[in-house]
Structure formats: C-alpha cells, structure tokens
Symmetry: C2
Subunit: 172 residues, 2 copies
C-alpha cells in the first residue's frame, strides 16, 4: 500500500507542471488498454427483468499497478481490484452512472480517442438514452440492448443472446 | 490506400492545433500497445556470428490501421506490414539504427512512458552501447545480450537461450 503511494507520487512528480500532457497520455493508454462496455444482467426485481450496466475499465498486469493508480488519481473515482481467473491481472473500473456521467464521458470528450472513437460514441448514446429513462420502456430497452451488442464484437462472449433477452420481455 | 489517407487526414484534423496533445496521446497508446525489443539473430558472416537488432513496434488489429498511420506520420519513419500468423494484425515498426536513434529515443525521452519506463531505459542503454561499438567485443556482446534478455519477460519466447548463444562465441 505504502509502495503504491510512493510509486504514484513518483509518477505524478514526473508529470508535474504537465498535467494536461498526462491526461492525453492516459487517453492514449486507455485507447489501447481499456474497454467501454455495457453489461445486460438478469435482475428479476426490475420491471423488465434486466439491469443495464455501463462500465469503463482499464486492465493491467499486477506488476504495473501504478498505471491504474494514476487513472484512479486523475479520475478521482472508481476502484482497483484483481480480476478472477488464472492471470494476475488488475482491473480499474468505474461503473456508477454518476462516475460515468461526471468523470468518464467528459474526460474522453476532452481528450479524444482514435481507435475506440466509435465505441465511445455508442457508449455515450446509451448513457444518454438511460438518462432520459428510455430503457424503462420495452422499445427503448431493445434499442439500448441493440446498441450495447453492436459495441464490442457484436455481442461475442456475452452470456445471453439478444434473442434470449428479448424473448423474456413482457408482451406488449 | 486512398481510404487510409482520408482517415489519417480526418484524425490529424481532429488534433489540429493540438499536435503536442497528439504526441502525448501516442506515448500513452504506445505504453500499452507497443514493444521495445532487441532481437539476437544468427548471422554467420558477422565476426561474432550474431546480429543485434533493436526494434520499436506497435501492433493493431487491421481494422484500426489508422492508428498505425498516425504513428508513421508523426515519426516520419518506419513501415506498416501484416504480421504472419492467423490473426489479422498489422505491425508498425522502426528497426533501423538511425530511425531508433533519431526518432524513437528522442520521442520517448520527451514524452515519458510509465509502464514501459524500465524497458525503455534498458533499450536506450543497449542502443548507446552499440553506438560505442561495445557489442563488437565478446565482453560487450555478452553485456548487451544480458540486457536484451532482461527486457521482456527474461528472454521468454526467444528462439535461443543465452547459454546457447554464448556457447557459440569464439573462445578468448
């Protein structure tokens, strides 16, 4: 813990007076090593039976925890935890709607992405639709799920297919 | 080809007036998605029988060639080619000593790395030793190979072990 703080201070000192440079560096790093994703999770007590969960994550091997500490410091939000699985990978994530709306989206609007530009646009469109509460209607929910599944490899690796999810919705 | 140029122009336009920001962005991207490596390649016509080949590379799925085009434009050096293998991955690389000395090293000295900081230091030390022609003596060659093998996972994935290489050297 003490070591993490020391390492963070060392890095911040290196970028002292160049805080903007550090922010653009982080945008570039995130463009390669992060993900913007929207999980669709079964949640029986919600009206439509599913929770929509936008999330920003950065991954790194545990031996370079320092870079995740820098993200956490600059965003002043989110948490770092070890991913389950055999690989010693750490995960920095922000998944609260407030954190995403107030920290993640403004950051990447200001410091543009190149590779993930389109994914980020879709991510923002989903968050905006959710803020307008569109996802609480069947039609809006389907629209959001469609966008979410279009983001990362067309839903590859998802637990449920779109058809499975849509089949559970109340009939209109 | 035309499409690549158009896409590159679009990205450069996005960063117009913010060229420094783009450079820091690229440093961050490279910190996640590039490698600094030093290949040791059998080369029977060289005095010690081995060639030392420092190389800077950035990888990307072919559907995001644009980011490699940005690197190539900013460094004004190097080339993009498809990696052999099943995955559709492109590789942007600079492997001439001149390119590394005049483009790669000054760039990352100016725009610091966080995750690859130590690897880059070792990479620079190797290039400097080679410029002093230290690698042309047996002792200097061994020092450079030691450093090279310490860089990326202690020589994991290398074709030859250090012991194999050292065993072929002329006896002193």
């Amino acid at each position: 813990m003490e070591q993490n703080k020391k390492e963070l201070s060392r890095i911040l000192a290196k970028f002292k007076g160049k805080e903007k440079a550090l922010q653009y560096y982080l945008a570039g790093f995130a463009d390669g090593e992060s993900s913007f994703s929207v999980a669709i999770i079964k949640h029986p007590t919600l009206a439509l039976g599913w929770m929509i969960n936008p999330c920003f994550q950065v991954y790194q091997h545990e031996k370079h925890r320092e870079i995740l500490e820098v993200f956490k410091f600059v965003f002043n939000e989110g948490s770092i935890y070890r991913k389950s699985g055999v690989h010693p990978v750490l995960n920095y994530s922000i998944n609260s709607m407030r954190g995403i709306r107030e920290k993640v989206i403004p950051f990447f609007e200001k410091h543009p992405l190149i590779v993930k530009e389109e994914t980020f646009k879709t991510f923002c469109a989903i968050v905006e639709a959710m803020e307008r509460k569109e996802h609480l209607t069947i039609q809006g929910f389907k629209k959001v799920v469609d966008m979410a599944y279009a983001m990362n490899q067309q839903g590859k690796g998802r637990k449920h297919s779109k058809e499975e999810i849509f089949a559970t919705l109340p009939k209109t």
